[in-house]
Amino acid sequence: MGEETFKLMQGNEACVEGAITAGLNFFAGYPITPSTEIAELSAAKLPRVGGKFIQMEGEIASISAIIGASLTGKKAMTATSGPGFSLKQEGIGYAVMAEVPCVIVNVQRGGPSTGLPTSPAQGDIMQTRWGTHGEHSIIVLYPSTVREIFDTTIKAFNLAEKYRTPVILLMDEVIGHMREKVEMPNREKIAIYNRKKPSSSLEKYLPYKVSEGDMVPKMANFGEGYRYHTTGLVHDETGFPTNNGKIAEELINRLVHKIENNLDDIVDYEEYKLQDAEEVIISYGSTARSAKSAIDVLRKEGRKIGLFKPITIWPTAKNQIEDLSKRTSRISVIEMNMGQYFLEIERIAGKYSKVDKYGRSNGELITPKEIVSFIKEG
């Protein structure tokens, strides 16, 4: 695999390929449309590379199992959709609090509840941000092409390892099931990040102590002699629970700031024809593909319009979006929901620019034609 090759690949398949490239060696999952292919392909591929696949008794069991596996040093992932993602929230919170790297894929479908199992939606944007209870920050990535799924899955693992945090890889039914010709990158050129391990003596290891200037504690694997305690309760540097308000404040601040203070490293996005743009569409996932086509049509008609496509959904690309709002007169947020990301964009951009929204939740993807009409009407 030393050079570029071309493959016809499905989105869910690219996710598994990317994950294995990033070092995935443990998958626990539960079947659910439209993410099931990720479990099926993991089941087929992982034992061939010495990895492990287990089908658990449910969604909560799956995320619990990957957290357990990660504590032993594995790179672990689970994949789900809508109803399953709701159930994962318990484990996501635990992984945030105990700082256990893992990747949770959510191939979105229509909701709420069992909703529209085989139809696309982008209704989980806010749930990815605030689905688990309590104050926290989270990293959520959302690719929009099959190749980008491959790359973004690798990035998801790298960020999970680097920041010791769960990373949510959002997709939607369209890109999960879509097949595209993909130029596979030269694997030797792909950067893989592995969690930093402690170098202190066994006796001196404090599992939740950070060194000066760092916000992420070093992580020992279970079984390597650094015996430590981990819990979902507020804990001190030893990992032991405490009710001390000062320690709680320091811990939660660190958990939030280790992400929010590293936007330059975490935030990823694509700009399309933005150079001279006077108005902007902000769109992500499969809807961004329609937006690109719409922009091409509108450009032919002489409109100076471009696309800002966030790949990192959370934390938001707030600096870039604020800059855009200062140099354009209108920002249209187009998404397959009734305005979830719009709320965030309006919060950031509303001071300087008009912010519009277009979207719906009926299980039908948004077409370029619709977008063109919406832009022209505005």
């Binding site: 443990f26 034992p47 008794e57 909560i60 504590l71 484990g91 032991f240």
Partner: protein, 269 residues
């Protein structure tokens, strides 16, 4: 100062533990580390996983690789740990609410897989951490803060459940017979498969007070009176079986172990 045993296996800085005076959990926990000591396991190779509730605070006191997980999920976390690293001896400490109510499904499926995990249920017949609500093992008719007029639910026989679901070692003991706990935990760890040990504990603070069972000593004496081994129990008439706690090894069988079966798949490529 503490004993050599406690000094070696406990994070002694975290003592005294949070359990109430007379709570049986401390007795069971000591029995578990005694069993580990008897087997001579390396502390680095032992992983203790617990859920949520009084019982599950146990993991934090022990000097092993320890995980205090979410409510009911200890067995799911433990499955991930054991499957990821089969060299670890994985021991799950859970309670009656944790393992039989919110985590009941995980118990069934972990037993079904026969993965090499030793589970010890601290059964105190009540939700203690939240202040005395009835649990799946609160005997019918007894009281809890959420069963002020008496519990109308049938109570679970957890050992029968574990056996039916496929556990390959099943036993029960009480804190009165703490030496029996030690022996059973040793047997459970030695069993290459899913081992299920129900230890009957006491909660004088909530269960005892609510149901007028007396103090910790009275409650332990009640356990002593109620305990009977399986052979003797089988000889009793139906009427006399009522209210008895059958102790000892209740089931043992041989079946392929989960992580070994998966390893065969890996090796086939």
């Amino acid at each position: 100062m503490v004993s050599q045993l406690i000094g070696k296996y406990y994070r002694t800085g975290s003592l005294p533990h949070i359990w109430c005076p007379g709570c049986g959990n401390g007795i069971i926990l000591r029995a578990i580390v005694k069993a580990i000591d008897n087997l001579g396991l390396n502390q680095d190779d032992v992983c203790v996983v617990s859920g949520i509730g009084c019982s599950s605070r146990a993991s934090g006191y022990l000097d092993f690789n320890t995980v205090h997980t979410t409510h009911g999920r200890a067995l799911a976390f433990a499955t991930g740990i054991k499957f990821a690293n089969p060299d670890l001896h994985v021991i799950v400490i859970t309670g009656d609410g944790d393992s039989a109510a919110i985590g009941g499904n995980h118990l069934i499926h972990t037993a079904r897989r026969n993965i090499d995990i030793t589970t010890i249920v601290f059964n105190n017949n009540i939700y203690g951490m939240t202040g005395g609500q009835y649990s799946p093992t609160t005997p019918t008719g007894e009281k809890g803060t959420t069963a002020p007029y008496g519990n109308i639910d049938a109570n679970f026989d957890l050992c029968e459940l574990a056996k039916a679901a496929g556990a390959t070692y099943v036993s029960r003991s009480t804190i009165y017979g703490a030496n029996m706990i030690i022996n059973q935990v040793e047997e459970g760890i030695k069993n290459k498969g899913f081992s299920f040990i129900e230890t009957i504990s006491i909660c004088p603070t909530y269960y005892g007070r609510k149901n007028k069972k007396g103090n910790a000593v009275d409650m332990i004496n009640q356990l002593k009176e109620m305990s009977i081994n399986k052979t003797a129990y089988d000889k009793l008439s139906k009427e006399k079986r009522n209210g008895k706690i059958v102790v000892g090894e209740l089931h043992k069988s041989q079946r392929t172990e989960y992580t070994e079966e998966y390893e065969k798949i890996i090796q086939s490529f």
